[in-house]
Symmetry: C2
Subunit: 263 residues, 2 copies
DNA sequence: CAGTGGTCTAGACCACTCA
DNA sequence: GAGTGGTCTAGACCACTGT
């Protein structure tokens, strides 16, 4: 790390710059521990709080992870998973025999796990109700919450949560309303059994910082936003039969749409 | 604001919680100025640095804007603009007579402005080259940089930047390579004149915190990520003829795709 | 100019991790 | 228990904004 550097910059920025370029140059490798805050303060002849300010800047830039009682570590960068708009195509499902989530992870040598953590009958939130043409004042939908994990052999980490809302008329009497275990295929086979074959998918995408709950649930590091996708499945009669809200760690996942453009 | 609150919480969190709920309850209205750091420190009997920590938390949550020399203000929330996948459809372009950007802003009563800030012949970045089937070691593309602004009557603010890369063979001899002023229609009319009518659009979406340059250029407030869309326009022969990288403030804009799903 | 946030200091004590 | 980050204090001075 270059400790001379410039003259005029503020001490906290000087330290941050030094550490940043050391990381960029690979002098501090991924996963490596930085010197302790006290050690850096000594070395630069500044107060510990000033070092903490520098570390905070790097942490917000997503360059380091600060771990209480252990130290500050250079953050490991992961390859981005790409989830496509072809997610719901029956051909895709049948060709690979895998759900798109499992297929994408397999391609990157990761082990997927999907867990359905709850199935409830509830009143839908306002934005979901609007898209389903339902009201918010009655328990008119089944809510299924799914957690998606990836494991690289060393550790397993959450990638996204998907919360699916299904009108009660669609789910009633089917495993959609009752069973957490739908096998390795996604929900879509079950919708077809109920007479709803998907013909259009609407996806509304936004990004924001996670809420504190999401940050801890998805174990989101500092300086990482979430992608939120509000997906609506529409059948051949133009009826919306399912809405899913995906909340995805933006450092692990992105989206990939390939769409025909009509004249 | 409720100053009693809980007992055990840390002082910085107590103050942050108090301010947060005052904002949520509307006791502190949008645009309103919070008490100064020194005033809050006095009122709560804590050090000014502790108040600053509380304000920093709120700022990172995107609830307040801190303005040097002026004060801390409750951030104004804006409605999200939605940019659709139908952006490139010729019908859409002709029906409205407006570019999709202008149409979406008009719908929300905002005044759009689009400015082309540079046209250069350059070597494409790696990801763009890959999608165009070009190489990165020759100035094989025209790079057009467009800034998109919105004005609500009070102030004008940047919404997104779009950087378009066009293979030299496509742009050569056309205004695509030379003119900043393409009129109110988007680029797509010009591509058609050159024999490239769009038939497919691929859009790769990701989210991340802005770089310091992006943060200042787009005037992005604290705690706001950017959406990055790498768009590839593909013609009826399956040839990519244009790649655009959109970088959008995630507190102002989102995406809205409506796609057919093939069996 | 007064008032605001921005940075820094030199300490103190607490909470967590690991040997 | 030694070492790490987490929080807090009570001051100081600087930089920016507005009157």
């Amino acid at each position: 790390m270059n400790e001379e550097d410039t003259g005029r910059r503020l001490p906290s920025r000087r330290v941050a710059d030094g550490l940043r370029s050391a990381i960029a140059a690979g002098e501090l490798a991924e996963g490596e521990k930085l010197p302790s805050e006290r050690a850096l303060a000594d070395r630069f002849g500044i107060a510990r709080n000033t070092v903490r300010e520098a570390v905070r800047l790097l942490s917000e830039e997503g360059l380091v992870d600060v771990r209480h009682g252990r130290g500050v570590f250079v953050r490991r960068r992961r390859r981005l998973l790409r989830f496509g708009g072809a997610r719901y195509s029956r051909t895709t499902r049948q060709e690979t025999g895998l759900s798109p989530y499992r297929a994408e992870l397999a391609e990157q040598g990761l082990t997927p796990r999907v867990e359905c953590t709850s199935i409830e009958r509830v009143a839908p939130p306002a934005d979901v109700a609007e898209r389903l043409g339902a009201t918010t004042d009655a328990p008119s939908v089944v809510r299924r919450e799914n957690w998606y994990f990836a494991s690289d052999g060393t550790e397993e980490y959450p990638v996204q949560v998907g919360v699916t809302y299904i009108p009660w008329e669609v789910a009633d009497g089917s495993v959609l309303a009752t069973s957490a275990d739908l096998g390795r295929e996604s929900l879509y086979g079950r919708f077809e059994e109920r007479g709803h074959r998907i013909s259009r998918s609407r996806e509304e995408v936004s990004a924001r910082m996670p809420t504190p709950q999401e940050a801890s649930g998805l174990r989101i590091p500092a300086g990482v936003p979430v992608l939120e996708v509000l997906h609506t499945g529409i059948d051949h009669n133009g009826l919306p039969f399912e809405v899913t809200r995906f909340t995805m760690r933006a450092d692990l996942g992105g989206l990939d749409y390939d769409m025909p453009i009509e004249d």
